[in-house]
């Protein structure tokens, strides 16, 4: 009897999951469809109005026409690689400096009290205002851009790490010490698993800010990257290339943000 019930219940559970999945796919398709329709409508308005006809390339169909050419010529790949390299190094530097600073803030009361206000002040200096100084201080433009990205991305990492440590139960350290854990064991077995969630949340915020900073940072001085492609398309009045680049920026950002979100969910222990 019991077996019969459970075997009867199994299909509905799988069925319910399938329905849920289909619902999600359906709703996403509807949402993206609405976005596309709005874009198409905007393009149609541009096309039918004689005063704005020269901007008709902003519409969806000219944009999609431009995609194969931009892919084949390597423009998109080169730009994405150049930006990806700067973003990768910039974020990496922000993470390897931000996490130790965050751990120091979280573990040492004196350091936290001393550094909090100066760090909040530095955090609220808009990153792009460092640009002239970065350009003079760094030998290459690439390094200046990487510096700007790190300068913007280090604060979310540091503050999230410190906030994660503040939530730790001090009793855990006592238990660990009583069980004979060394300093390294405590770091590896308690601190890192406990704050992984917060560090990743900080990295997700850092990625968002870095992604905002990289485009204007690439407007000047260099001839590669997504920001440069935006600038270049505008100057050459290649409006379709411009919208393709905007789409690519949105898509890459979306994928990176999705990866961060999946990692955050994976390392979350606060609740189901």
């Amino acid at each position: 009897m019991a077996a019969e019930i459970s075997s009867n219940q199994a299909p509905p559970a799988a069925y319910a999951m399938l329905v849920m999945l289909l619902r999600r796919v359906f709703f996403s398709a509807v949402g993206l469809g609405i976005l596309f329709a709005l874009w198409w409508f905007g393009g149609w308005l541009l096309e039918t109005n004689p005063a704005t006809m020269s901007f008709a390339d902003f519409g969806p169909f000219p944009t999609f026409d431009a995609v194969p050419y931009m892919v084949q010529s390597g423009t998109l790949l080169d730009a994405s690689q150049a930006s990806g390299y700067r973003l990768g190094i910039g974020l990496l530097l922000a993470i390897i400096t931000g996490i130790p600073i965050g751990i120091l803030m979280g573990r040492s009361k004196v350091f936290r009290k001393l550094s909090n206000t100066p760090f909040q002040f530095l955090r609220m200096v808009s990153p792009l205002s460092w640009e002239p100084i970065a350009v003079i201080a760094m030998p290459t433009w690439d390094q200046a851009i990487i510096f700007l990205i790190s300068m913007a991305a280090v604060w979310p990492v540091a503050f999230a790490t410190s906030a994660g440590l503040a939530k730790l139960d001090p009793a855990w350290f006592k238990v660990a010490r009583n069980l004979g854990a060394s300093w390294w064991n405590i770091l590896k077995e308690i601190i890192f698993p406990a704050i992984a969630f917060d560090v990743l949340t900080g990295i997700r915020l850092a990625l968002g800010v870095a992604w905002i900073v990289i485009v204007p940072a690439e407007f000047l001085g260099i001839t590669s990257g997504l920001g440069y492609t935006i600038q270049d398309s505008r100057e050459n009045l290649m409006y379709a290339d411009l919208t393709v680049t905007i789409l690519v920026i949105g898509f890459i950002g979306f994928v990176m943000d999705g990866i961060c979100l999946a990692l955050i969910k994976r390392f979350s222990w606060h609740r189901g």
């Binding site: 619902r23 999600r24 709703f27 996403s28 509807v30 949402g31 993206l32 609405i34 976005l35 901007f55 902003f58 004196v110 009290k113 001393l114 909090n116 206000t117 100066p118 909040q120 002040f121 530095l122 955090r123 609220m124 200096v125 808009s126 990153p127 792009l128 205002s129 460092w130 640009e131 002239p132 100084i133 003079i136 968002g208 800010v209 992604w211 905002i212 900073v213 990289i214 485009v215 204007p216 940072a217 407007f219 997504l226 920001g227 935006i230 398309s233 505008r234 411009l242 919208t243 680049t245 905007i246 920026i249 949105g250 898509f251 890459i252 950002g253 979306f254 990176m256 943000d257 999705g258």
Partner: protein, 268 residues
């Protein structure tokens, strides 16, 4: 007796040490690092043309910049754009956030398009925005609004999801209409989250403001930075960096005080 007399004084003293003495020492360290940096620029012949980045030349430039009205002029221009942009982001973002928090269908339909739009770096809209809007001011306000709206939307939606559904039932049973429910249940419950979202939005708007003002306009903090660089007035440049930091810090402190005031979940 002694305890009662000493307790307030001791509390005040700890407060002063934590909130004045420690930050002051922290700032002194920061300023000392800056002074050392300036000193290195000065003693090295190859960098002596950049001496004005140092602490002393910058501090010498500040009184002139302030008294001539240069600082006030650009702060007001940027402040106006920031305020309108943030205001529009809040005005549009909060209702969208409420819609997402209350309806799962709306949330699922908008999820992918909104995430895609959110991750389009705001400054990449700039060329399009400049064509769409008749004035640069409006283009900058749009860029700030488009960057700041997402934190407001998602914080509002997240706040609403934490609201216990029983509260809606209770208020309906007590005869509350939609407007009453909004004023008495929803807003007090999510005020904390909205202000958290506004704090994030302010941070992002502040990041976007400076590069948005680098082009086209001849006022604002971003323009002042560019102007100082082009005229090689490095002391003005560092002075403006300090001004940007002070204003951003002040705004952030105000918003985080509001976040704390409206917090009912726990002490933040």
């Amino acid at each position: 007796m002694i305890d009662k007399a000493q307790a307030p004084g001791a509390v005040a003293r700890t407060w002063l040490i934590d909130h004045i003495a420690y930050p002051a020492v922290g700032f002194v360290i920061l300023i000392a690092l800056w002074a050392i940096g300036g000193w290195f620029l000065e003693i090295n012949p190859s960098t002596s043309s950049f001496v004005k980045f140092g602490l002393v030349p910058t501090m010498q430039a500040v009184p002139g910049l302030v008294s001539s009205g240069y600082v006030a002029e650009h702060v007001i221009a940027s402040g106006y754009r920031l305020a309108i942009g943030l205001f529009l982001a809040i005005l549009i973002g909060v209702p969208i956030g409420i819609a997402l928090g209350l309806s799962r269908v709306t949330e699922q339909i908008t999820n992918e398009p909104f995430q895609l739009l959110r991750m389009v770096s705001p400054l990449s809209w700039m060329p399009i925005v400049v064509f769409v809007f008749p004035r640069w001011d409006q283009a900058i306000i749009f860029l700030i609004g488009v960057a700041a709206i997402w934190p407001v939307i998602y914080a509002t939606a997240a706040g609403l999801k934490k609201v216990d559904p029983a509260w809606f039932k209770v208020s309906r049973n007590l005869g509350a209409n939609f407007h009453k429910m909004l004023a008495q249940v929803i807003f007090p419950a999510i005020a904390f989250d909205i202000f958290t979202g506004i704090r994030l939005a302010l941070g992002i708007a502040w990041v976007v403001l400076v590069p948005a003002e680098l082009l086209g306009v001849s006022s604002g903090l971003g323009y002042a930075i560019k102007d100082a660089r082009e005229t090689l007035a490095y002391d003005h440049l560092t002075a403006m960096v300090v001004v940007i930091g002070i204003i951003g810090f002040t705004l952030d402190t105000i918003v985080s005080a509001l976040v704390r005031k409206y917090s009912w979940q726990k002490d933040v």
